[in-house]
């Protein structure tokens, strides 16, 4: 069988990986594309949406695909994709995933199945709005940049142009090699940049690797009779303690979608009227204990106690 092309998308929470994935799917229109979705939380919300649109999607949730307790599932998923009628495989890793383990994953697959993939490289999406903040607090961002073969500085429409050279300078201090593109909504002008992408593992040699052990997550199922204003107030209270809030809630019978990156809150009625499983995934930043702040802010805004069940 011919080698299949393999692309890795990395980037911190809310940087725009899924939006860029859609651009890639447009670039690969007409090709048979399989997707591996990795979610840090328990639900792959994006995976659900993509499946509904007819794509072949494998989901690996509840941790990073590069983590020792998930990498076997990742390897299985890649091998399974190879056996299917696909030409291209795109892996969207979770925002907290450290892609510097990718060479080991490919080595392992090579041992099991031979040289079955043409690994095109790691495309790292950088959030221009939150870059400096997350770079200082999340170790994994540095490693995502360090192991990138192409870097997209996304959401440039939301920052002053004067900030961009500063961002690029910082990126270059971490990794000089890859091309850096500036995008809005992950749109690339020249698809050849993707089609001609090739990987280099040289930069992995210089990576000083550390682990992130303090990722906090909570998954809530909210089906309540509160008004959207009251719920929005709660989102505003809790968002400073989070990197990301993503998912669906039902308020007074109406389903709403939440898609927030730190304090940039998007909250709107969802078109998915028949969504059976409500899930709101919250990924906490390092500031405070999420398990303490959720009930605290819930009580403050909604005047009701909130009990979190342990989720793993």
């Amino acid at each position: 069988m011919k080698k299949k092309e393999l692309y890795l998308l990395s980037g911190f929470l809310g940087a725009g990986k899924t939006t860029f994935l859609r651009s890639l799917l447009d670039i690969f229109s007409g090709k048979k594309v399989g997707i591996i979705e990795n979610e840090f939380g328990q639900e792959s919300i994006d995976g659900i949406i993509l499946k509904r649109e007819g794509f072949q999607v494998a989901e690996i949730s509840n941790g990073s695909i590069f983590c020792a307790c998930r990498s076997d599932l990742f390897i299985d998923a890649l091998i399974d994709c190879y056996s299917r009628d696909l030409e291209i495989i795109i892996v969207e890793s979770s925002g907290l995933a450290d892609p510097t383990e990718m060479p080991e994953i490919l080595q392992t697959i090579k041992k099991i199945k031979g040289d079955i993939f043409e690994y095109k490289g790691n495309i790292a999406i950088v959030d221009a709005v939150n870059f400096h903040k997350v770079l200082n607090t999340a170790v994994v961002v540095k490693n995502q940049i360090m192991s990138a073969d192409l870097i997209l500085v996304n959401k440039i429409d939301q920052v002053f142009k004067e900030k961009l050279p500063e961002i690029e300078e910082k990126i270059r201090s971490i990794n000089e090699k890859p091309k850096v593109l500036y995008t809005t909504f992950g749109k690339i002008d020249d698809p050849r940049i993707i089609l001609n992408l090739s990987q280099s593992f040289d930069q992995y040699e210089d990576v000083f690797r550390v682990k992130t052990i303090n990722n906090q997550k909570a998954m809530l199922e909210i089906d309540e009779r509160y008004s959207e204003n009251i719920f929005l107030n709660w989102l505003k209270e809790i968002s400073p303690f989070t990197y990301r809030i993503k998912g669906f809630v039902r308020l007074n019978g109406q389903i709403y979608e939440v898609d927030s990156v730190s304090e940039d809150i998007k909250f709107f009625p969802s078109s998915l009227m028949d969504h059976k499983k409500l899930a709101l995934v919250i990924l906490g930043n390092k500031q405070k204990s999420l398990k303490k702040m959720i009930p605290l802010t819930w009580k403050s805004c909604l005047n009701r106690n909130f009990i979190i069940r342990k989720d793993r």
């Binding site: 020792a68 690797r209 550390v210 682990k211 992130t212 052990i213 303090n214 906090q216």
Partner: protein, 452 residues
């Protein structure tokens, strides 16, 4: 019999013709080649060069490759503060704001942090040094690692959330096992598990929280057919028996422990006792004769089976080379040393120290006596507790640290009768000795003293 054979026979509890000697030259190794502590802990070439110099000058029977209890913490996200003449200290604690326990799959890999450098040096040392000298791989014990990750909150957790504490210690133990595995694979003959904070807890707490993980850890090391040592600094006397029950091959103690009393505990367990030349008063500030006398006192007062002579802990950077050589000479040639000491008189510098007038203080005075809060883990946490109080009370209290590395402070300790380090005094009265107070305890006694 060469040094390596001597160490292995000793840790196998066999009778030997000589007592072995293990200099714990961590950052001090760098001094021998003019390298700073940071250089020797981060540059593999400089580290190896320094280790070869240790072998040449100190003729050890066993020696550590790296003595840095922050290697694991750094990999797991702790920021370190580096120093020129001391190991780094931990500045941030990634689990201080969360009560989540990391997944046991998130343990250091061989490519993380400084491990690639350390493992490479271990492999090279094995080829050059290892034929004659037993190589020690030192890892951070699970309790000290838990405190690096969780910060001072850990001491409250032990009272407020026992289940969380046990789960966190279980995670840290998995890290310890992984590190042991890497070092054993790299050829280390002895795995020393260094856990300074063990001396800060009661034997009940040791039994409740540490007995199980440590027994597992030493069983793990034993299954790999490698020797083990349980290394605790500070006054660990109350915990030595519990430590022995976890079944290491050896126990290492520092100058806070009476070796004679300790050996009475370790001998029935048939466990080797290593120690305990005082680092500061003798090795750093003494002269060669002081060091020889110390060794001879140990050799003359202790049964030689199941005994290793070593410094009490990681040797201070600036220890005069001749002092360590004097120790080595005394261990190897005790009769010659005895001859030299016939006319020995210990030199004691008379330094006049004026103590505060404790009766006439305008505000509470907290005095913390430490070995050095920058390098001794237990001292760091004692000082942290004091700093938290100072931050809370502000100008209403005075706070002073007296580091034992300064001669005047040694004189102050003698004048005040300070027996163990770290210790905390309030208005001239001993309040906490080797046990770190909780925030509530400390605040209460300070507030009470304000009322008087």
């Amino acid at each position: 019999m060469n040094g390596k054979e001597l160490i292995l026979k000793t840790l196998n509890h066999e009778k030997t013709s000589q007592v072995p000697w293990v200099p714990f030259a961590g950052i001090h190794a760098g001094k021998l080649k003019g390298y700073t502590a940071k250089e020797v802990l981060t540059d593999g070439d400089k580290l190896l060069e320094s280790l070869l110099e240790v072998e040449k000058l100190y003729v050890p029977d066993g020696m550590p490759i790296v003595f840095d209890l922050q290697v694991e913490a750094e990999i797991l996200g702790c920021e370190l503060v580096w120093a020129e003449d001391a190991p780094p200290s931990v500045k941030t604690h990634p689990l201080s704001e969360t009560d989540e326990v990391p997944c046991t799959c998130i343990v250091p890999s061989k490519k993380d942090g400084r491990l690639p450098m350390i493992l490479k040096v271990m492999e090279k040392a094995k080829k050059t040094i290892e034929k004659d000298v037993a190589l020690y791989g030192l890892i951070c014990g699970p309790f000290t690692l838990a405190s690096h990750l969780r910060g001072n909150n850990l001491f409250m957790d032990m009272y407020d959330d026992e289940e969380y504490t046990k789960n966190l210690l279980n995670y840290c133990n998995e890290v310890a096992k992984k590190m042991s595995e890497y070092y054993i694979e790299a050829g280390m003959d002895v795995i020393a598990v260094v856990d300074p904070l063990v001396s800060q807890i009661s034997s009940d707490h040791f039994e409740e929280f540490l007995s199980k993980p440590y027994t597992e850890l030493f069983d793990f090391i034993r299954k790999e057919k490698v020797k083990s040592s349980f290394f605790v600094c500070g006054d660990a006397t109350r915990n030595i028996e519990e430590m022995c029950k976890t079944n290491p091959d050896g126990v290492s103690v520092d100058e806070n422990v009476d070796m004679i009393e300790a050996k009475k505990i370790t001998d029935p367990f048939n466990i080797v006792l290593a120690g305990n030349i005082p680092l500061t008063t003798v090795m750093l500030h003494g002269n060669q004769l002081d060091n020889m006398k110390c060794v001879m006192d140990l050799l003359d007062s202790l049964e030689h089976q199941n005994l290793i002579i070593s410094p009490g802990c990681d040797m201070p950077y600036d220890i005069p080379i001749e002092n360590t050589i004097a120790v080595q000479q005394a261990v190897r040639n005790p009769e010659q040393a005895r001859e030299m000491l016939k006319n020995y008189e210990a030199v004691e510098e008379e330094i006049d120290i004026e103590l505060p007038n404790y009766e006439a203080l305008k505000k509470p005075l907290v005095e913390v006596f430490t070995l050095d809060s920058a390098t001794c883990a237990a001292c760091t946490y004692m000082m942290d507790a004091a700093n938290v109080a100072k931050e809370y009370f502000g100008d209403k209290i005075d706070l002073v640290e007296y580091k034992y590395t300064i001669k005047e402070n040694i004189a102050r300790c003698k004048k005040m009768g300070v027996r163990n380090l770290p210790s905390m005094y309030l208005n001239g009265e001993l309040k906490f000795s080797s046990i770190i107070p909780s925030r509530e305890e400390l605040f209460e006694i300070i507030e009470n003293s304000m009322g008087k």
